[in-house]
């Protein structure tokens, strides 16, 4: 694909005309100058699109690793102490059966990989980078070098987390929340040794990367919008990215500080999180005077807003995709923007709902319950507006649309199940059971991951100039949708029994002994779900090279990225985009084509409306 023919403009666009386009089929470098050029073009690139794709490829690979870790976890839950296929070779001495400390490490690293190396970087890093300049009509980010660094700071994190599997004692095994004193005392658990130190370092590098990105996104969105692009003409994707960047900028420093405090507890002998005279595994902690709950406050002060960092961008992308394939303006644009802002604002005062039974003052629990109940409100408003967007539309069932609709359908479940946990008395029973596991998988997998797939199918033509295969896309959607509900919906009733999370084997309890068959069913669904992703991987790679050529605007969408060539060259636009209207003018009455792009001249709409009357 050295040239891309663009049917909508009738011109032939060569990647070389626009400097470096997207790295597909680059020629092998010969001389050292070519090597340098290759490195600066494809490796240490400062082009936001290349950086976005670097984030995309890296996070998709980690997505695979995180998924396989989940399968190993599910295997142990369904058939505890049985011989593990493939992985069993690692523990040949134990007859192929998994040790409990290995299981503990698996779920810790599954969550860590999925949250810090997949969801956060794929939303902000991959989609944020690729889409922000294109959708606001800028030629690149405000700080291209910072942007490059934000990707390359992920690599030390990849190395820290990756290497931790191979150090003595294995990777971190204190849960992704790393509650002390389990995580601060080397004697407490095999994974609390070098693995935990590397975990904390990896976390810090992810934090640095996110911070560099968030500063860049805020500056770019505020300062580099195309002429005519007012804040209230921004597509929802950009609003969501903007507010996410604000959340990151304000919440992350707390986590970074807390991470360093835990590192210094571990390595310098301080006692921020260790109480006086604590004896772990028959070893007296040398320092004390701290408090384990302090960590929980600091950790959740970041990690609760982080939950919204992990869903708001997906909400933005889904809002845009729904309008395109419903051929209808977004229902309630301003309420949608205000509710994202509301979620972000309230997101800073709800962290205590993770700590209702932690020993925190129960009176404080009441205030956190009220704020947590209230954060359901903007989410409800968003859901009603998505339904309003579909109502009266002209719905096209493309793969991207199916994933976007399923985001709405699944987010309803994830949102409603949250209310159970927000209610403090009910939370006493379902806290740390599979009910919460169901809840956050509905938000993060059935919500965010489905939103990410919607985004990939939708923007793939802009990224690579080619469309993905729709038939196999729909097969991928159907199977993922069915298997994900088989895996996660059943977790609700498992949680209703009180089935606790993070137990290597719970069937020796009288209360839970009859739950193995249900768990086996869920594991089969999980295996199906991961296997289905082979279809996606093949479709993705095949379409990059052999998919039908897309042209500039294959979906007849309105936003600015669709006025640029596919894929856009260096500098993005071959003309200066000037914005005349909001992003959602679909099915304008009397208009010849059923959409008015943001760049269409102003008289187009006036003429359309005049002829309608």
């Amino acid at each position: 694909m050295s040239t891309v023919h663009s049917p909508s403009t009738g011109t032939t666009v060569s990647p070389t005309d626009h400097g470096h386009a997207v790295a597909v089929g680059g020629r092998a470098p010969r001389s050292s100058r070519q090597v340098a050029e290759f490195l600066s073009t494809y490796v240490f690139s400062k082009d936001h699109k290349v950086i976005g794709l670097q984030f995309l490829f890296s996070t998709l690979l980690w997505f695979l690793i995180g998924g396989l870790l989940a399968l190993a976890v599910r295997w142990q839950i369904a058939w505890p102490w049985s011989q593990v296929p493939v992985l069993g070779k690692l523990f040949a001495q134990e007859g192929g059966q998994m040790a409990p400390e290995f299981y503990t490490m698996l779920f810790t690293m599954h969550a860590t990989v999925m949250i810090f190396l997949v969801i956060i970087p794929i939303l902000a890093g991959a989609f944020g980078n690729f889409l922000i300049p294109l959708m606001i009509g800028a030629d690149d980010m405000a700080f291209p070098t910072l942007n490059m660094l934000s990707y390359w700071f992920m690599w030390p994190a990849f190395l820290c987390f990756g290497a931790s599997f191979f150090v003595e004692g294995g990777a971190a095994s204190g849960g992704w929340t790393s509650y002390p004193p389990l995580s601060t005392n080397v004697a407490a658990s095999p994974g609390s040794g070098m693995g935990q130190t590397l975990w904390l370092l990896g976390l810090t590098f992810v934090g640095v990367s996110s911070m560099l990105g968030s500063v860049n996104y805020m500056t770019t969105i505020i300062l580099m919008r195309a002429p005519g692009m007012t804040m209230f003409r921004l597509p929802m994707t950009i609003w969501a990215m903007f507010i996410t960047a604000v959340l990151q900028a304000f919440a992350l420093p707390v986590l970074t500080a807390a991470g360093f405090m835990q590192l210094s507890d571990r390595m310098l002998g301080t006692g921020f999180f260790n109480p006086e005279g604590n004896v772990v595994n028959n070893l007296l902690t040398s320092t004390g005077g701290g408090h384990p709950i302090l960590w929980q406050h600091l950790f959740w002060f970041y990690s609760h807003p982080a939950v919204y960092i992990m869903i708001l961008p997906a909400m933005g992308m889904v809002s845009d995709i729904l309008t395109v394939f419903a051929r209808k303006p977004l229902f309630g644009y301003r309420p949608m923007v205000y509710s994202i802002a509301g979620i972000a604002g309230l997101g800073f005062i709800v962290w205590g709902h993770h700590m209702f039974v932690s020993g925190m003052n129960p009176a404080l629990g009441i205030t956190f319950m009220v704020s947590t109940m209230m954060i359901a409100l903007p989410s409800a408003v968003k859901t009603f507006n998505w339904l309003g967007t579909l109502w009266g539309g002209k719905i096209q069932f493309t793969t991207a649309m199916l994933f976007a609709v399923s985001f709405v359908s699944m987010f309803i479940i994830g949102g409603l199940s949250g209310i159970f946990m927000a209610a403090t008395p009910v939370d006493i029973f379902i806290h740390d059971t599979y009910f919460i596991v169901a809840h956050f998988h509905y938000v993060l997998f059935a919500g965010t991951a489905m939103g990410v797939w919607a985004g990939i199918y939708y923007w793939f033509p802009k990224m690579f100039g080619r469309l993905m295969n729709e038939f196999w896309g729909k097969v991928h959607f159907f199977l993922t949708f069915v298997f994900l509900n088989g895996t996660f919906f059943t977790m609700h009733i498992l949680g209703a029994v009180g089935f606790p999370r993070r137990l290597a084997d719970a069937y020796h309890y009288e209360t839970f002994h009859h739950l193995q068959p249900l768990n086996a069913f869920m594991t089969w669904c999980a295996i199906g779900m991961v296997a289905t992703q082979i279809i996606f991987a093949v479709n993705f790679v095949w379409s990059m090279f052999y998919g039908p050529v897309a042209g500039r605007n294959p979906w007849n969408a309105n936003t600015l990225e669709w006025t640029a060539p596919s894929p856009p060259g260096h500098g993005n636009f071959d003309f200066q985009p000037i914005v005349h209207r909001g992003p959602y003018e679909y099915s304008v009455p009397g208009c010849e084509k059923d959409h008015l792009m943001q760049t269409d001249p102003p008289d187009a709409r006036a003429a359309a409306l005049a002829s309608a009357h």
């Binding site: 709950i293 309803i412 498992l494 029994v497």
Partner: protein, 264 residues
């Protein structure tokens, strides 16, 4: 444009979500995959709140999911002569669907407060029935003995085998020796983290004689899964008889408890 059959297929798939969703919650209890038997006074009010939220969210779930299905079904572009409405929103609707959920959610949180206060804030004014000290990976128990005071020479020590009297207020003093644990009694709807450096009071009133599980619900290391205890709810007479038995057994193995105290 497009195929009407495809639209029918995909809308029905989304209709399957509320149908199978509700079915799961109906079939689960048939196979005993549901709230475990409740044997406490607090448990009754916690369960009724659970059912209240279940009904409320269940209705919202079914209504919104069916609407979603209906819109996909009805507004399929493959229907003849599709026309999309050119509507940017409705101020009235926004106000309605902001105020109604806001009022409902506020009511819901106020409605919870009394139960929460009963379970976690209105501590009974009685001396501790037993001290539970969590440790990797066991529950160490300490009964006050005849003098009714903890920390005296006649204290009784046990591991993982908790006995309490039925129909009486029980106050547990919860502590941890090493890392975080969580004292989880599924049948009594009790869960409380044990935090090293803290003494956390936990209270309940069991309503039925029997044996139930004690589960650790906060990750505490590799042996977390096996940190299992047992709570036996006895009648007053059985409870006293059991205490005497324990006392007798302890005296037999500890001939001179007084000397130990003198050495401290």
């Amino acid at each position: 444009m497009g195929n009407r059959l495809a639209g029918i297929f995909w809308s029905l798939l989304f209709l399957a979500v509320p149908v199978l969703g509700v079915a799961t919650f109906v079939v689960g209890p048939l196979y005993d995959i549901w709230l475990p038997k409740d044997v406490s006074v607090h448990g009754r009010s916690i369960d009724s709140l659970f059912y209240f939220i279940l009904v409320l969210t269940g209705v919202v779930f079914v209504v919104t999911e069916v609407l979603l299905f209906w819109f996909l079904w009805k507004y399929d572009a493959a229907r003849p002569n599709p026309v999309a409405a050119f509507i940017h929103g409705s101020h009235t609707l926004e106000v309605v669907w902001t105020i109604i959920p806001a009022a409902t959610l506020l009511f819901l949180s106020i409605y919870q407060m009394n139960t929460w206060a009963d379970v976690k804030m209105r501590r009974p004014r009685i001396p501790p029935t037993v001290e539970v000290v969590a440790r990797q990976f066991e529950w160490r128990l300490r009964y006050p003995g005849r003098d009714g005071e903890l920390g005296t020479p006649d204290d009784l020590f046990l591991v993982n085998d908790l006995h309490v009297p039925v129909d009486e207020e029980v106050l547990v003093q919860l502590k941890s020796m090493d890392v975080l644990h969580s004292f989880f009694l599924p049948n009594l709807r009790i869960k409380q983290d044990a935090v090293p450096g803290m003494k956390t009071p936990v209270w309940f009133k069991a309503t039925e004689v029997g044996q139930y599980d004690i589960v650790c619900a906060e990750l505490c290391g590799w042996g977390h899964y096996k940190m299992k205890g047992r709570i036996t709810v006895d009648t007053r007479e059985d409870y006293e008889r059991w205490l005497e038995e324990i006392e007798a057994r302890q005296e037999a193995t500890q001939p001179e408890p007084v000397a130990e105290v003198a050495g401290q």
